[in-house]
Symmetry: C3
């Protein structure tokens, strides 16, 4: 195999140089602007006469760690369902999240915690940076398999910036409540990614082809079958698009079309990774929603509401999946995704006096709607709206995020002094001070959703145009969902590619 | 493949309707009875003049999260050792636990925290609900592979109810100490499941057949061999029991008997899931036992004792496994199960002044006995007692649970004012107040074990009768340990089933 | 298969007896010396009039649990990259860590917390014991696949002892700062293991042969090919070295050489375990470095510095991996290892006023150097220095540990009263009291690194001589990286070994 599967114009130095550039720029900005805050600076902390007990670290750090697990294990493994794209799914998640948390420390710092010309960091900035990284990974889910790492890093630069602005507009200007991020994280991340995926639409990429290659719809059986049949295509594919514009060429080469997904699967063992992702997301979501709330009852209540909401969305998902499944059978894709919708659903209202019943009802609705979305809406999304949503983020984050924002509007609108007592000031300071009525706060919440959808859509469109820059070397259609373009994987090596054929000959002769 | 593998009488609507019914009933009961407690309600918390530091959330929530990981990752993945039952193992664990925690919030609330007609929830109710879900999953382990999801949901309704009653009798009436649940969780869960499994005994299910299909006793080698050999049986099996009573038919069809376990394995990658389950259970067990103890020294001491007990049970397990193994070799089944017995063993006594040495000795005993149980007692259990214990819960939870209860009797009997000092009141309030002697408290502990065994046995028997109701559509023998009955998996699809055969033809011709 | 693959002289009773002996000795020493401390003892805690809030459990236990996950999940799974050595990788990790934490409780207790003739234990001793277990696992990584469990247990006895002495010299005598263990854990563990591996050098073990069998460099494709080709060798190998000195015999038998690594892979599904290990180590490293620091700002700042350092080392690793990769492609081995170097790097300086920029710069340097080490230095290490470093611990722990120690020297040397204010006393008590200047403390730090390298080298050499004792039954060359020597795995059973051949015949005839 003499030729690189990489585009001639996409130099091998692109990713390293971009990493170095971004890391260098971030480091310089850190040197100039970022300082320890009064709880992390030795001099500042000991200057005041604090008890160690009062350090916010002890209130927030356990929740931060849970959020950190969700971002790096949960989102990464949830995406590892493509047989031949496992290295990229978890590897790029790692890269994007690691960069996003540095960049968002800067962006969020500029907008939220710039005091005396410096950004002051602490466990709170770590939580917020991880939240922003979560939004980036949601968008990544919509375009998974169709973009290279350099493109994704540039998308991250843009998205983190817009995330910070949108968050600033909502939380600081509109004074909207959204601690768990139904709007700022899930709605923003999902629609940014979906619009971006629309701009990058590839008409020649067969509809839902990637599903065929998912670990759900294949077993060892199928693997072996495909292996033998498609070895030829597999080898040929590595040479595809030797020069010239790839997108056009590849559409002319049917052998490339039939091949990529079914051919020799890279590392076995991916099958359970998505479930691992799901389970860790499900377990730690109460910490996600409660990590940045007010201390005391606020954090406690948010965790409780999220816990109930998730349990109900799980039952709703099982019910719907069996109801719409062939012969009443369950679909693991539904279980591994829609069961999480309950966490998204109470991102805004979880801090409020939603009541345990309200949490159950909201979660059940989210699980139900999300499952129906996977079954009925995803095909329409591609066929009618030309949005190729690889991971189904519209069903898991988009719709439940919007529903969660609307639930927030409802619960805010119903807020009374009676229900919140003296606690009204900590949840709704403006209402407690009489500057807003519950109804006007609810309207602000609704406007916040509208603003988020605007920012996400415009941002996603801009992102799409950015990623279409020819110099970024977008993968050709036949290179989509393929690890080999970016990773050293075994199948491509001369010896490995030859070995099995020899072995087969021996079998037949024996 | 035109016919459904499901029984004619087991309608596809059964699971959805049951989910909707149970979720609906739970939601209504939540609406009527469940309220935030004084630490989660905005008005109640802010009415009192609390410091946020005092909110129990900060003392319990990190432990709760560890328990939550154990229940959802640990128990679920520990059961994922059956090659063709992976989707069901982790999927049903998810479903049962999600429902059990809602239902046990109600049941435990009625018995333990009903004040003024309302159940008040907080992080404590979350911990207790997760504990109850753990007991349900232990029972599930005894009948894994032999029941459908609708049956399991009904078992959960019954078991959670009895769990709540048993717990009420022990903790509130007998005033027994059992914070880590050697009795209330492990003994109860294990014997409930074992008696239930006895009632559901299937004589035609070959002895330990499921072991043959475990991921431990197969490698890719074996898989491929079986695949080719058993494709016919596999396909045929999907058509088995087209109508009529399945249990009789299937026992007449030898091809169905030979086949199910060895034939084409569903998703690869299961092999390490049990180990992941084990490791997370092992790591977080100190949090499990210490989550609901008294604050301060009680929680600290329990974590320490459990940590030592587990480390000793690990060494005991390795020693025994190599001692009884063929040519001195280790058996991964022992390591992945018996090493955990140390955590079960100190469920009752962990809170007490067991001493670090006592924790080591107890753990070592538990690991040793549990390993010997896997080696020598499990075969007897099936052959003599007609109990088909799929996951070996008798060795991991049953025997160590009983031993843990007896250890509790011993340690309580040895309790002195000298050893506990002023702390006696927080561990043994009745002894501190002089209402009981250490010896009489020990007798109550022993009686608590007896009561638990009674509740578990009677409950398991009732559960078995309930699950035998014909309308529940129990899977036929040849459908046991098979994902395809309940899940959309690939092997069954026309194309996938045909593909490999075609590919083989090509190989041979090439 | 009539003959045992075990050496005639290595009796089946060796491992069980050693486990029993070590556990028995530890238990007796616990009985004599180990007692609850004032925070875990019921009488002592309630004697003082403490608030439960003050119990150190609530400050340290969440961090301890994260450390516990790192040691048992992170290190174990990170090593599970050898296809045929998965059971041993995770199983022996489990055994060694479980014993190491008991033994180090004793050793560290003797040196650090012996008061009135008793070792007093609490969450702090749990954290320190886990740290020591981490060092043992680092050394295990250097010799992975080449030693048996009895050898490893003896190595643990020796290494834990020397670890405790080295730690005592550094922290108590030299008064060096090293809370996250760049020196005491990483440098010590790495060079102990590397020198030990040098002493155990096996010239006939082909260079980097184990890499060929790693899960990265194989897919199902390759597996199947090898399977057919090497069945004969595989079977033969089980009989290899029936008597006589193994090392010489095996070098004469070419079939044994070609075979072990490529032949039938034991359990599939290992491929992602290393990534799981990496991700959990990466996520929880901030807890590792901050677990034993001073409370308040110290713990908070350490977590923050580690978080930034890791994110920069991730970008550095991606940049370098793509830069040195063939055609600009990434190597998963780099990503899964070098990205963690940032955590090692700030083990000493993380507690200090490193500044966020300093953390980024340090992490980036560590990731870069570690990646280059994997690419260019590992081959030299084996070829020139005759060190067979199975897991590349030199790149992940050795070099970054030394760099971290040097970074500590630098940051200590730059410490000023201005930067630390009143907090200087908690980070550098001797400087605050005027007993040392920043420069002299920096020199002590440098001397600490030198002492650590001495202890590690001499200890590793002693360990190597110990492990060469003939009675310990070292595995023959052809048994290296083979689970079957120590575990019951399927491929060896008569039926399983025959099955596939029969099946292949059927295929060909069909």
């Amino acid at each position: 195999m003499a030729r690189s599967p990489r585009r001639a114009g996409a130099p091998r130095l692109q990713l390293p140089l971009l990493c170095l550039l971004l890391q260098g720029a971030t480091a310089i900005l850190f040197a100039v602007f970022v300082r320890y805050n009064h709880e992390t600076d030795a001099a500042l902390w000991h200057w005041g006469n604090h008890s160690n007990l009062d350090n916010e670290f002890y209130f927030r750090y356990p929740s931060f760690q849970d959020v950190h697990v969700m971002v790096f294990v949960g989102f990464g493994f949830l995406m590892a369902f493509l047989q031949r794209y496992g290295f990229s799914s978890v590897g790029f998640t790692f890269l994007l999240a690691a960069f996003a948390l540095q960049w968002s420390t800067l962006i969020q710092g500029f907008f939220h915690s710039l005091h005396g010309g410096y950004i002051h960091v602490s466990v709170n900035s770590m939580i917020n940076a991880d939240f922003c990284a979560g939004a980036v990974l949601i968008s990544f889910g919509a375009i998974l398999g169709k973009t290279g790492p350099a493109q994704l890093l540039l998308m991250t630069v843009l998205e983190v910036t817009l995330f910070g602005i949108n968050e600033f507009v909502l939380l600081n200007l509109l004074r909207v409540k959204d601690t768990g991020g139904s709007m700022t994280i899930h709605t923003f991340g999902a629609y940014f990614g979906l619009v971006l995926s629309r701009v990058l639409y590839r008409p020649q990429l067969e509809k839902s082809k990637h599903r065929q290659g998912s670990v759900y719809h294949s077993d060892l059986f199928a693997m072996i079958g495909h292996t033998c049949e498609q070895t030829a295509c597999f080898k040929e594919q590595l040479h595809c698009t030797p020069e010239g514009p790839q997108d056009e060429r590849s559409s002319l080469r049917p052998s490339c079309h039939g091949g990529p997904m079914g051919s020799p699967p890279s590392p076995p063992g991916l099958a359970w990774e998505p479930h691992t992702g799901t389970i860790f997301l499900w377990i730690f979501w109460p910490s996600f929603n409660s990590a940045p709330t007010t201390l005391g009852d606020g954090q406690h209540r948010t965790a409780l509401n999220t816990y109930y909401s998730l349990s109900a969305s799980t039952l709703g998902t099982f019910a719907m999946s069996a109801l719409v499944g062939e012969r009443g059978r369950l679909d693991m894709v539904h279980i591994q995704n829609a069961a999480l919708a309950g966490g998204v659903m109470v991102g805004t209202a979880g801090e409020m006096m939603l009541t345990p019943f309200g949490a159950l009802a909201a979660g059940f609705l989210a699980g139900t709607v999300s499952t129906l979305g996977y079954k009925f809406f995803t095909p329409i999304l591609e066929a009618k709206f030309k949005v190729q949503d690889t991971c189904g983020v519209h069903n898991l984050h988009g719709i439940p995020g919007v529903l969660g924002a609307l639930l927030g509007v409802l619960v805010v609108g119903l807020a009374t002094h009676e229900a919140y007592g003296e606690g009204l000031g900590s949840v709704f300071p403006l209402i407690a001070k009489g500057q807003r009525t519950a109804m006007s706060q609810a309207m602000y919440q609704l406007f916040g959703l509208f603003v988020t959808l605007m920012f996400a859509s415009v941002g996603g469109a801009l992102g799409g145009l950015l990623l279409k820059l020819p110099c970024l070397g977008s993968p050709a259609d036949c290179q989509c969902y393929e690890d080999q373009v970016y990773w050293e994987v075994p199948g491509e090596h001369e010896d490995a590619a030859q070995g099995p054929l020899k072995a087969e000959e021996q079998d037949t002769q024996a």
